[in-house]
Symmetry: C2
Subunit: 327 residues, 2 copies
């Protein structure tokens, strides 16, 4: 009995550095409702497990979900996940959670299997099954935020690599003579289109240009990529120029991915994609001009569709795929 | 009856821009003997088919191979191969062969299926099944020559991409402010470690350095990467420096592939890999220093083992995989 034939409900857990989102979902991926609690990473995973369980139980009760009918629960977090041991093994934001059997602890208490997945892999899977990746078998997913993450759907399967560490698309070299990245490399894609570097470039534009700009009213430390989108929408020329330049730099990274993967679709997520075609159209133009002609002519470059829900949807569907029936 | 249980013999065809190699092979991949004929690409694929058939028939007769027991024949060439139509669709060296049903024509005359594959994909598959990639499920294969090609074994399968054009690892950006490549991109990996650019850098080293070097005796237009290996082996300091620098540039490309794929092994082939650790050890050092720590600590960077036979072996094994039993 495949999981998508009979409709049932379960929960998903998206562990971020600041907040943990707990959602009630249909087994087809639709989010019914969600709660958010603070992560408080420093208190460790045992404390978090208790608070997650309280929230899940309240959610199940509120939505009238039978815990016995959940089949499986999906959970995701940033970092490298060891799928064999179902634990996170390298996560800068959750250092004290590494190697902790959090998923197993939750599974024991809930009475259903809980599967852990890397957050960007989960996001890619969610966009593939329910979002902007639907219907394609070869998808490169990129998420632009403080960091630049990647997830790969190759030949109709999530690609995790030999040790669960694949997909670090933000840490591919774009400029071998460039500046140091937060990773051990230099001149990475993240070093060009990560949030801090977009702000850095904005400040440089403001300094070098005499154009009037509402961005000048912001304190540099308060500036975020979303301010660019708002300003550009209001006709701000500096904001529009920075977004165009960011899109071109993104495109230069995408050229490599098009030549490497020959994907059907590239799905770009993260806050700055609210800028839409101001960001993506310059990226598409660079890809059309600089990637190999056949794959460049075939690839679609599209914004993600599921927003903040993508990871929890993907983690849930991955869990149900591993455990489609109960028992 | 799996193809590797009962031993039988077949032939493989490796179509290069200059020569076509026709080999008699065991179904496990071992080359028994081989013949080489000129490609004469300008005469077109019908002419080539006739000459290939004559050579195959002579080879079968000489080796006492029953054409009825061959199961399938593998063939490879440079360019993008459409696996559905079993034709090459984009091949700069074989323009008049594009969309020609050469494989089907040979199959009709030989009475066995003939499968066409991209040459670097075939090489990667050959190294995976019979060479330096044995036993691993996640392999990045790179071949350094005039061009820099790539082949990907991901999750234990050859990855071709959505339209057979994946794996162009030589055409990933290493320097977004770099020089134009032969492809539409700029600053590609090939633009740094392709044969012509290695020679270009050698000439620059010779010009800038006063060190004695036997490379000074060569005419620039006659210089090839193999001269560097020979000179370095004889203690030439300029040759050793160029090889080390080439290895470091190669390593800077590999950093991206390690972060993207988290491979178990990177297999490097092509003439210049005769330089061995003079080339590969600097590459390994760069990867250990600049790639993400977990995948960097796990990946092996090794020279290819099958040399010029890799592609014909891989093409044959791919053909037999698609057609393991007769009829």
């Amino acid at each position: 009995m495949p999981g998508d034939v009979v409709k049932f409900r379960t929960v998903g857990i998206d562990v971020g550095g600041t907040n943990i989102k707990i959602a009630a979902l249909w087994n087809g991926g639709g989010v019914i409702s969600a709660e958010s609690i603070p992560t408080r990473a420093e208190r460790g995973p045992v404390d978090a497990a208790e608070r997650i369980l309280v929230t899940i139980r309240a959610l199940l009760q509120r939505e009238g979900i039978d815990p016995g009918g959940m089949h499986a629960v999906g959970m995701d977090c940033a970092g490298i996940v060891d799928p064999e041991r179902n634990v996170v093994i390298d996560s800068p934001n959750l250092r004290s959670w590494e190697n902790d059997p959090l998923a197993q602890r939750l599974a024991d208490r809930l009475g259903v299997p809980v599967y852990l997945e890397n957050d960007v892999n989960a996001m890619a899977y969610g966009e593939w099954r329910c979002g902007a990746g639907r219907g394609a078998d070869h998808i490169v997913c990129l998420t632009l935020g403080t960091g630049v993450g990647g997830g790969l759907i190759l030949d109709g399967r999530l690609y995790r690599g030999a040790h669960g560490a694949a997909g670090e698309l933000g840490h591919t070299t774009l400029d071998l003579r460039g500046a140091s990245c937060t990773c051990p490399n230099i001149g990475c894609l993240e070093r060009h289109v990560g949030a801090a570097y977009i702000v850095e470039r904005t400040l440089r534009h403001l300094q070098e240009s005499a154009a009037p700009s509402r961005l000048r009213d912001l304190e540099p430390q308060d500036m975020a990529p979303r301010d660019l989108t708002l300003a550009a929408d209001a006709g701000d020329p500096v904001a529009a120029a920075v977004l165009r330049e960011t899109g071109e730099l993104l495109g230069k990274g995408l050229v490599s991915f098009v030549n490497i993967f020959n994907p059907e679709r590239i799905v770009v997520g993260g806050g700055i994609t609210k800028a839409g075609d101001r960001l993506l159209e310059p990226a598409r133009q660079i890809v059309r001009r600089h990637a190999m002609s056949l794959p460049a002519s075939m690839v679609e470059i599209v914004p993600a569709e599921l927003g903040d829900d993508a990871a929890v949807v993907g983690a849930t569907l991955l869990a149900l795929e591993q455990h489609p029936t109960r028992g």
